[in-house]
């Protein structure tokens, strides 16, 4: 029987599985959420990329004028705008490069122009794409358009759009802009090195010593996640600024600039690095340490041959995450950067300060490159770490060693003082009347309504945004993750979806926000209606924090038995019944984690929404930025601490809720 040789399958068509109702519904869901990601992510990014390539230039050769005599009779010479400009030397070639909103005054071509003159003017353009405006009327074409002198004032030329790398050429020809690249890379690298070393020491103390108060340290180390990244900047100003409490420690150096950015970056990236490294240390195998002890290896040698290699993926991963966070952060360098330019701030300055959207887009593209690079490397490392995790290892239990434990305790205390100190300084600054002249306590800095930035309404908006983001985001993310994990076949669609879900992590918030302007502020876009509303803020925030939420959901779903779907189908039950009665309840802890993650980030985010809020939808985190910008530093600190307390409360509610829900709906977990 077995001696028949099977060369290949018979020729013919593969059997096409008939798709059941469930298959169609699930594919429909994938399609809907994929469309969501395309609208909320892919199309805006495309709009931004094309914007960075769009150049606008006034093409003077395309316009001609004729001037009448005082009686209104035409008959004189026809002038091209170029000839006039060459003759009068009014606009340099630099002046003729402009943005999409560029308008060129034409009266300058005629030095003896007066709007009271009885002289009439005729204008025409030689091509249908060379536009000019008469008031708000858009015109083009070779027919003469006659106006009197008064109306001629209102004639402006519009630029011609073209595609090319001119914007990039201009960017790289501007030294002040290019310097930001080296600045950003330098600051990010330095901050990364410092943070990873500090966080490693902290994580090592937590997992390898028997010191006391571990849970307190862990809690404190996580605190920076709950505040906007610009808050440490404010604290540093109070500590080391021109009138800082500890200014002498700076020994003449200014905190405004690289020192401040690095110090603040270490603060706000510390918890991220610490979490990743703690996980990496936790999975290392205790048996290796036992082996090292039996081989009489010294503690030092064990550290370098067992600990470090075991945690190396975690260390690399932490490094790239920190690097990405620092290089894409905008709030901190905005507050404390002074004259020291960073890429993310350049985007803001170009867009908000100079209204040069094209250049903003160019900086965004430049910023995308290192961010994408760090992201890609991190993904590759993560994949390797998973392989390491699947090996069965024995959990390491540290032994008491008084000298080492006290050393760890001292070290962790130092870090804890730094973190708590930053927060306390902010709270102190918020509560005193007028630093450094009147140190009496007062609540006047909480009278947000008296200041620019949106007042208490901004705070309420932030809570609204956080709740909406947590609610809709959790539904979208979990449903999408479920569909993509549990659908059969449909490989291309699922791969595309996975790619779209991973993409947001690689997109800096500033870039996303700017991309949203380009995409949603286009009057031709039917989604233009949501521009300036809470809806676009929710959309943007959900998208900005999509990836981590998606990965949390996928991890939880992967832990569920893959055969649930098979069993349910064999019992002829629709997938949504299984989804509602089994998948969601079993994944409830992960679902709650996703919602608190989205809530906290929606409260603290500045970078994406800073381009998208309107007067009606001002946000607390943006208010911190704007009040600080306006010189109201103490109220900014007060608002920042409001965000902190709100997040602390939200986290507490989350913890209580999780515990309660676990007890009531997950009785099955315990025997």
């Amino acid at each position: 029987m077995s001696d028949i040789s099977y060369s290949a399958m018979p020729q013919g068509e593969d059997i096409k599985p008939k798709l059941g109702t469930d298959d169609w519904v699930m594919r429909g869901f994938i399609a809907v959420i994929a469309i969501y990601l395309i609208i909320a992510l892919a199309l805006p990014l495309y709009a931004m990329l094309s914007k960075s390539m769009a150049t606008y230039q006034f093409d003077l050769t395309q316009y001609e004028f004729q001037v009448s005599d005082e009686a209104g009779n035409f008959g004189g010479e026809v002038f091209s705008a170029k000839a006039l400009n060459d003759r009068e030397k009014i606009y340099s070639s630099e002046d003729l490069i402009t943005g999409s909103d560029g308008r060129l005054d034409v009266t300058k071509f005629f030095p003896d122009f007066s709007f009271r003159s009885p002289v009439h003017y005729k204008v025409r353009s030689l091509s249908a794409t060379a536009f000019y405006l008469s008031g708000s009327e858009r015109r083009s074409g070779p027919e003469w358009f006659e106006v009197d002198s008064n109306q001629f004032r209102k004639i402006v030329l519009r630029p011609v759009a073209a595609f090319g790398f001119d914007n990039f050429k201009r960017y790289f020809a501007t030294p002040s802009l290019v310097r930001s690249i080296t600045n950003s890379l330098l600051i990010s690298t330095i901050s990364t090195v410092i943070t990873v070393i500090l966080a490693f020491g902290f994580a090592y103390s937590l997992s390898r010593s028997c010191m006391r108060f571990k849970s307190v340290f862990r809690l404190l180390a996580m605190a920076p996640i709950l505040v906007p990244s610009l808050l440490p900047g404010i604290a540093l100003v109070y500590l080391f600024g021109n009138q800082g409490m500890l200014k002498p420690l700076m020994m003449g150096e200014s905190i405004y600039g690289p020192y401040g950015i690095v110090a603040g970056s270490v603060f706000f990236t510390f918890p991220h690095a610490m979490l990743i490294i703690t996980t990496a240390l936790a999975i290392s195998d205790a048996r290796l340490y036992e082996a090292a002890v039996t081989l009489r290896a010294s503690r030092w040698r064990t550290f370098w041959t067992v600990t470090i290699p075991g945690a190396r993926y975690g260390l690399f991963s932490a490094a790239f995450v920190v690097f990405n966070l620092v290089i894409t952060d905008f709030g901190l360098p905005k507050v404390i950067g002074g004259q020291y330019n960073m890429l993310a701030v350049d985007i803001y300055k170009q867009v908000i300060g100079q209204q040069n959207f094209e250049m903003g887009a160019v900086v965004s593209v430049v910023l995308l490159i290192p961010a994408m690079f760090a992201f890609t490397i991190d993904r590759i490392i993560q994949r390797k770490q998973v392989a390491l995790l699947s090996a069965r290892s024995v959990v390491f239990e540290p032994n008491a060693n008084p000298r080492f434990d006290w050393l760890c305790f001292a070290y962790c205390s130092l870090i804890a003082v730094f973190i708590a100190g930053i927060l306390l300084v902010c709270q102190y600054a918020a509560l005193i009347k007028f630093w450094p002249y009147d140190l009496s306590l007062s609540l006047k800095n909480y009278a947000f309504d008296l200041m620019d930035g949106g007042g208490w309404n901004a705070y309420r908006n932030s809570i609204k945004l956080a709740l909406l983001t947590a609610f809709f985001g959790t539904i979208i993310v979990f449903t999408g993750a479920y569909m993509v994990e549990k659908t059969n076949g449909f490989k291309t669609g699922r791969t595309l979806f996975q790619f779209l879900a991973m993409l947001p992590m690689a997109i800096p918030g500033m870039v996303l926000g700017l991309a949203y302007i380009f995409f949603f502020n286009n009057p031709g876009n039917p989604l233009h209606v949501i521009y300036g509303t809470m809806a676009i803020l929710v959309l943007c925030t959900v998208t900005h924090f999509y990836t981590v939420s998606h990965l949390t959901a996928v991890t939880a779903l992967k832990q569920m038995d893959n055969e649930f779907e098979s069993v349910s189908a064999s019992l002829k039950q629709p997938f949504y019944k299984l989804f509602a009665r089994v998948s969601v309840p079993v994944c409830l802890p992960a679902i709650l984690d996703i919602s608190i993650y989205l809530f906290v980030n929606a409260m603290t985010t500045v970078s994406a929404v800073v381009f998208l809020y309107s007067t009606g939808t001002a946000l607390a985190s943006v208010a911190v930025l704007n009040m600080d910008d306006a010189g109201d530093v103490a109220p900014a600190a007060a608002m920042g601490m409001m965000i902190f307390y709100t997040n602390v409360i939200a986290r507490t509610i989350h913890a209580v809720l999780s515990k309660g829900l676990l007890r009531s709906t997950q009785a099955w977990r315990s025997r």
């Binding site: 399958m9 059997i15 098979s566 064999s570 019992l571 099955w668």
Partner: protein, 381 residues
């Protein structure tokens, strides 16, 4: 009579014809055809990676085959999704919904099929009785033992009375003792319900003891289909001979007149088609070797001559006590370099007073000595 029999032949409950399954370039199933009678218990048996689970999943519609047809109860179901087929399934992992009680797990497939609440309740109680866990309905799966969980999974699978029951290594995750007792329970339940059942297993003991018929698979190919005794007594390929039970396999040379030369001795064997001089593998099960008492060696010819009745003298090179019997390792002049294993009953050892180093006369029954083509000539292992 004959016509009715022919009709019954056509009405096989499950027909699988020319099934192929490709994963990229890898062929997991190669031209599988088989039929299953209504009410039959069939086991797919083979080493891991042989394609047995792939075949089961194709029958369930969970991973549809690349070529070929599957027909159940006269209806072509080749490309239907699982929900449009008629089967219940039990997995090795039980796949019980952890957050639902035992009752809710069993009634999961009984809801919204037009049964009243009372009827569902009654059916759940009936099923719990059937699997012998009448009082466990309110518990959660994690509160039950593995064996109990698997019985609940079984109850859930048969709750809506499917025409076909599929069991994917249902006992592999359980302790050896629980496994044996559940083996009987499942078999009995199947007989009582008369549900056509296909079970996938890599455990030959499980397959032999439970299946009405066994489908032995290897490398995506069906090696042999037959009753447990057929498979054991009369393996059709060296793979089956090797995989099922234990088998002495020794290189040998085929001789004319249904004989074979093993070592230095010729034996009569099962009739064969090999040409004289062909390299073959001669096989005999250890328990088929018959001991004939201690040999004095006197009056017996030197190597090369066959004793009457396929009897030869061997040396007991080693003995191993295996509880209910002794395993003897036999060598000696007449076998050349070869070694044979023989299972000797404790009685026989005592009666013949055997020990290591002694000479023993053994008989190789000709009808148990079977030849297969040498591995080099056959399919790659």
């Amino acid at each position: 009579m004959a016509a009715r029999k022919a009709h019954a032949q056509e009405q096989k409950f499950l027909r699988i014809e020319g099934l192929w399954k490709a994963f990229g370039k890898f062929l997991a199933l190669k031209d599988i055809s088989l039929e299953v009678d209504r009410g039959e218990f069939v086991c797919f048996l083979g080493p891991s990676g042989c394609g047995k689970t792939t075949l089961l999943r194709a029958i369930a519609g969970l991973d549809i085959q690349t070529r070929g047809t599957v027909a159940q109860d006269g209806k072509d179901i080749s490309n239907l999704p699982p929900a449009e087929r008629d089967f219940g399934i039990v997995f090795q992992s039980y796949a019980l919904f952890p957050n639902l009680t035992i009752e809710k797990n069993i009634s999961f497939g009984l809801e919204n099929i037009g049964l009243s609440r009372e009827k569902v309740k009654a059916r759940v109680a009936e099923l719990l009785d059937l699997v012998g866990l009448p009082d466990q309905g309110k518990k959660y799966p994690a509160q039950l033992s593995g064996g109990q969980q698997q019985r609940i999974a079984l109850a859930r699978a048969i709750a809506s009375k499917p025409g076909l029951l599929l069991l994917d290594e249902p006992l592999s995750a359980l302790d050896a003792r629980v496994r044996v007792s559940l083996r009987h329970e499942i078999k009995e339940l199947q007989r009582k319900l008369g549900v056509t059942t296909i079970m996938v297993t890599h455990d030959q003991e499980e397959g032999l003891s439970m299946g009405d018929r066994i489908v032995v698979m290897n490398h995506g190919v069906v090696e042999q289909i037959g009753t447990p005794t057929e498979i054991y007594r009369d393996p059709q390929s060296l793979f089956v001979a090797d995989f099922i039970g234990e088998m002495n396999q020794v290189p040998a040379k085929a001789l004319a007149n249904n004989a074979v030369k093993i070592g230095e001795t010729s034996f009569n064997c099962v009739p064969h088609d090999f040409g004289a001089g062909a390299a073959v593998i001669a096989t005999i099960r250890p328990e088929d070797i018959i001991p004939h008492g201690r040999s004095t060696g006197k009056g017996r010819g030197k190597g090369g001559t066959k004793k009457p009745g396929n009897t030869i003298d061997v040396d007991i090179a080693d003995m191993e006590f295996l509880g209910s019997y002794w395993r003897a390792i036999l060598g000696g002049e007449q076998l050349g370099e070869l070694r044979l294993l023989a299972n000797l009953s404790i009685n026989a050892i005592r009666r013949m007073d055997l020990a290591v180093g002694m000479k023993l006369a053994i008989e190789i029954p000709p009808d148990r000595l079977k030849l297969f083509p040498s591995k080099n000539a056959g399919p790659a292992e």
